[in-house]
C-alpha cells in the first residue's frame, strides 16, 4: 500500500514536470491549466503521458486533450480515457501523414474522425490533393457524416471528391449532407439519397476544368 502510494507520488511528480514543459507557450499554459484541473490523479497522469507522446510525434494535442476532457465530463474511468486517447492518437498520426504537407489542426482532427467511421486512407490523400491550399475540414466532416449514416464509403468518397473537383462550396456539401439525412429519415436508402441530391448539386456546378458542354474544340 505504501509502495503504491509512493509510486503515485513519483508519477505525479513526473507528470508535474511534463506539465511544466508543456507550459512554454500561451496555448501550452492553457492546456496545462486544463490538465491540472482534472481531479482524478490517475486520469491526469494518463493525459499528461498521452499529450507528451503526441508532442513527440508532432501530432496536435488539442483534439487529444478534448477527448480526455470529454471522458472526464462523461465520468469515464482513467483506463477508458487512456484507451480512447491512445486510439485517437493513432488516428491523428495517420491523418497527419495522409493530409500532409499542410494540414491544420482542425483538418487532422477531422481526418481522424473520418478514419474512425471507416473512410479509407486513399480518400484522405485524394481530398488533400484536390484542395492543397485550403482547409478541407468541412468536406471531411461531411464525408464522415455520410459514411456514419451508412452511405457506402466508396460512393460517399467518390461523390465528395467529384463535388470538390467541380468547385462545390462547403455550404453545398453540408446542404447535401442535410438533404441526404432528411431523405434517409423519409425512407430512402442512404445510397439513393446521396445519388439524388449529389446529382442535383452537380447539375448546378460548372463542368470540371477542361470539359465543355458542347463538342470538343477542333485543334
Amino acid at each position: 500500500m505504501k509502495k503504491n502510494s509512493l509510486n503515485t507520488h513519483v508519477t505525479l511528480a513526473a507528470a508535474g514536470a511534463l506539465l511544466v514543459a508543456f507550459a512554454g507557450s500561451r496555448a501550452g499554459a492553457q492546456q496545462e491549466a486544463r490538465v491540472s484541473a482534472i481531479r482524478d490523479d490517475a486520469t491526469r497522469i494518463v493525459v499528461v503521458e498521452q499529450l507528451s507522446l503526441a508532442k513527440e510525434h508532432g501530432v496536435p494535442t488539442e483534439p487529444l486533450l478534448s477527448k480526455a476532457l470529454e471522458g472526464v465530463a462523461k465520468k469515464a474511468s482513467s483506463a477508458s480515457i487512456r484507451t480512447a486517447m491512445d486510439n485517437l492518437q493513432k488516428r491523428l498520426r495517420k491523418a497527419n501523414d495522409l493530409l500532409a504537407p499542410s494540414a491544420s489542426v482542425d483538418e487532422v482532427s477531422a481526418g481522424a474522425d473520418a478514419l474512425y467511421v471507416g473512410v479509407h486512407d486513399k480518400t484522405l490523400r485524394q481530398m488533400r490533393q484536390a484542395a492543397p491550399r485550403r482547409s478541407i475540414a468541412v468536406e471531411l466532416g461531411v464525408l464522415t457524416e455520410l459514411v456514419a449514416r451508412k452511405v457506402p464509403e466508396a460512393k460517399a468518397s467518390k461523390m465528395v471528391l467529384d463535388l470538390m473537383a467541380r468547385g462545390a462550396t462547403g455550404a453545398q456539401l453540408t446542404a447535401l449532407n442535410s438533404a441526404v439525412q432528411n431523405d434517409v429519415a423519409a425512407g430512402l436508402t442512404p445510397e439513393a439519397a446521396l445519388d439524388r441530391h449529389g446529382r442535383g448539386i452537380l447539375s448546378l456546378l460548372p463542368p470540371p476544368p477542361g470539359v465543355t458542354n458542347g463538342n470538343p474544340r477542333p485543334r
Binding site: D183, G187, L188, R196, H197, R199
Partner: protein, 181 residues
Amino acid sequence: MNEIDASVPLRAKRGEEQAFIEIVDFYYPRCLRFARNMLQNDQDAEEAVQDAFVRVHNSFPRFREDARFDPWLFRILANRCRTLLSRGRRHRSLIEYGEVPVTAAAAQEDYGADWAEEVRVVLDSLPAEQKEAFLLRHVEDLSYEDISALTGVRLSALRMRVKRACDTLRARLTEVGQHDR
C-alpha cells in the same frame, strides 16, 4: 382581422420580453404566409420573417403608442420581402432536381394542389408591387388605408394595383378555374 391585444405591443415596447414572445407566437403564421406568397420560397420566407421580427424588436422604441401594430409589422415585413426579391430569386424548387418521389402522399398532394399551384404561378408573374398590394388586401385582409400607410402609396394608386392584379389573375385563371370545377 384577428389582431393581438393592443396592450401587448405596448408591453413589448417597454422591454417586456414575454410580450415580445407573445407577438412572435401570435403573428408568426400570418407573417410566414405573407412572405411565402410574396417570395414563393420557404427558406427565403423564413429568413424574411425572422429578419422582420428582429427589426420589429429593435425598432420598438420608434413604435408610436397610438399606432396600430398590424400595419407597422407588415410594413417591416413587406420591406424585408422587397429586399429579398430585389436580391434575386433563388432557384424555386431545389428539391425538384431529384426525380424520386419521397412518398406517395407527396404525389397525391401535388395532384390536389393543382389549382393552388396555378394560382401561385400566375401570382408570381405579377409585378412585385401588384402582388404585394393584392396579398395585403385580399389575403391579409388589410384595409386600403392601412396598406397605404404601410406602403406609402396613395389610395388611388393602390386600388389600381389591386385591380390590375385581379384582372391578370382573372384572365389567366379563368380557364384553369373552369377545368378545376
